[in-house]
Subunit: 310 residues, 2 copies
């Protein structure tokens, strides 16, 4: 059976996997990043690949899922805020060291493709996958293929404007969905409420530690008014934005993933219900909203499968 | 050169055209519909086809653009409110009479495909086409193909919710974009303002005739406060919704068509400007917003080209 390599480059670790061509994970290895420069990252990937191939066997091509802005399919990383990179030819560097074809893809596209080939949207030609983690992103699968868009940035669901002129987002613009519903922003909103003495509930729960979506859900359920406000607004903006994308894209399956949705099931269920209220009647009849099935492995599996020559 | 037939079934006329395989319109014929029953429509199409083929030559296959809800690619019309149809096997009926392959597609998909193959988005693999006429609709082209969605209803842009719980839409739900920006609704909103004596400007301009988008634009430009309110709201909802779709789809070209946008250039330019303000920075860098180039012919051309066997 044909084997492929999948690589996931995060902010603190790299992971490598040997994946069967049907999407089965055969072996995984992880390396902690000593530093975040391109040389250190490439070295860590090569070590992880060497290790994983000892048990899993050789992969004929390598796909890398990467969080950052990429230049089409050239493997050039334009900007990667997590790693502080700018214009790094990651694909080329890895191809030299690994001596096989290397493709670099957006990490969310890789994860959505993994879910499509081996997870929650398997067998579904039209799927919309939304990740709510520290940020908010998505990937579109239409007619059985990933939609990249004209410059490879399709799926910027976190940057739809939900309050034109509203809260400043990490992207530098105002009023993005992510500014109200991404994990980093939820934490910031909770910290602001605690600092302003508006949230006795969150203050008691967190006791000086960084507030998480789990705290938010617990404080909102207990009726803390600041927590309820932050929670309800995140539900409304995520639910309406998702419902409207269901109307436009008419997916057979919506997949919900990412740390915030995984750890805050109350939030997740409210978002699902709201999205189904908001979407059009005809699109509602076609869609099923499912939780992501592969967790952190979706990106490894999807990156590997995307490296397969067409 | 290979020739194809394109047919457009409207509420009062049918048109048929012979189209070259590169999208050139070679001949057109029109028949007025005596009545709107399936038999009368089929007879009118057959007559128009007979006429057009005398001058244009024989088309090897026939594509029909149809305003209504279709059942996948079977040619079955589920519901067509314009004609009062329900469950009419239009494709089958025409195939028997025309003795060649017949495909029936959504009229907006046909028009968008015509613009893609021979008009404003020619040569662009990722395009989003929005039509604002009596209703509001859209079609998505991704990776060079039309996106149909899981049940063939992708592109229901007019039914994204812009005011959850808001104004009743013709679709039976509340707060849809179309309820604030479609031609029928703009007319209704203006009539309501005139009846309530809130719009001396529109009253003077229309003098008892049905108000049109041209009146709206003129009255708003003259400062009539009810007209300004209706106009500004339509601009804001269209602009924000379009901008957000640009963010998610990352199209290389957006094509704007339909009667309202064609006849109200002031509205159209304001919508363009607002959409470009709202969309994300990266998607903005990739997109050009263009006016539809083929007018009423886009649907004939697109339907014909979509009938071509793959």
């Amino acid at each position: 059976v044909k084997k492929l390599l999948g690589v996931d480059v995060g902010g603190t670790n790299v992971r490598a996997a040997v994946v069967g061509e049907e999407g089965k994970l055969l072996a995984v290895a992880k390396r902690r990043l000593a530093d975040r420069g391109p040389d250190a990252v490439v070295a860590a990937v090569v070590q992880a690949v060497d290790e994983v191939e000892k048990s899993g066997g050789r992969g004929s091509a390598c796909g890398v899922g990467f969080a950052g802005q990429l230049d089409g399919e050239s493997g050039l990383v334009r900007v990667a805020p997590n790693l502080g990179w700018r214009d790094v030819p990651l694909g080329e560097l890895l191809q030299q060291r690994l001596a096989r074809p290397v493709s670099v893809v957006n990490d969310l596209s890789a994860a959505a493709w993994g879910e499509h080939r081996a997870g929650a949207s398997k067998g579904v030609n039209d799927a919309f996958t939304v990740f709510v983690g520290s940020g908010v992103g998505s990937a579109i699968i239409a007619n059985g293929s990933l939609v990249h868009g004209a410059r490879g940035v399709a799926g910027e669901f976190g940057h739809v404007k939900v309050v034109p002129g509203g809260r400043l987002c990490g992207c530098g613009e105002q009023g993005c969905l992510e500014a109200y519903a991404g994990g980093h922003n939820l934490t910031a909103l909770m910290e602001e409420a605690i600092a302003a003495k508006r949230s006795p509930g969150l203050e008691a729960l967190t006791q000086g530690t960084a507030p998480t979506p789990v705290h938010l859900e617990e404080a909102a359920a207990a009726g803390d008014s600041a927590a309820v406000e932050i929670f309800d607004r995140a539900v409304e903006f995520l639910g309406v934005s998702l419902g409207n994308q269901i109307t436009v894209l008419n997916p057979g399956v919506v997949v919900l993933g990412g740390g915030v949705l995984a750890h805050a099931p109350g939030l997740r269920e409210r978002v699902k219900a709201r999205a189904l209220e908001i979407c059009s009647r005809t699109s509602r009849a076609a869609v099923t909203i499912r939780d992501a099935a592969l967790g952190d492995d979706s990106g490894l599996i999807g990156a590997a499968l995307l490296s397969m020559p067409a």
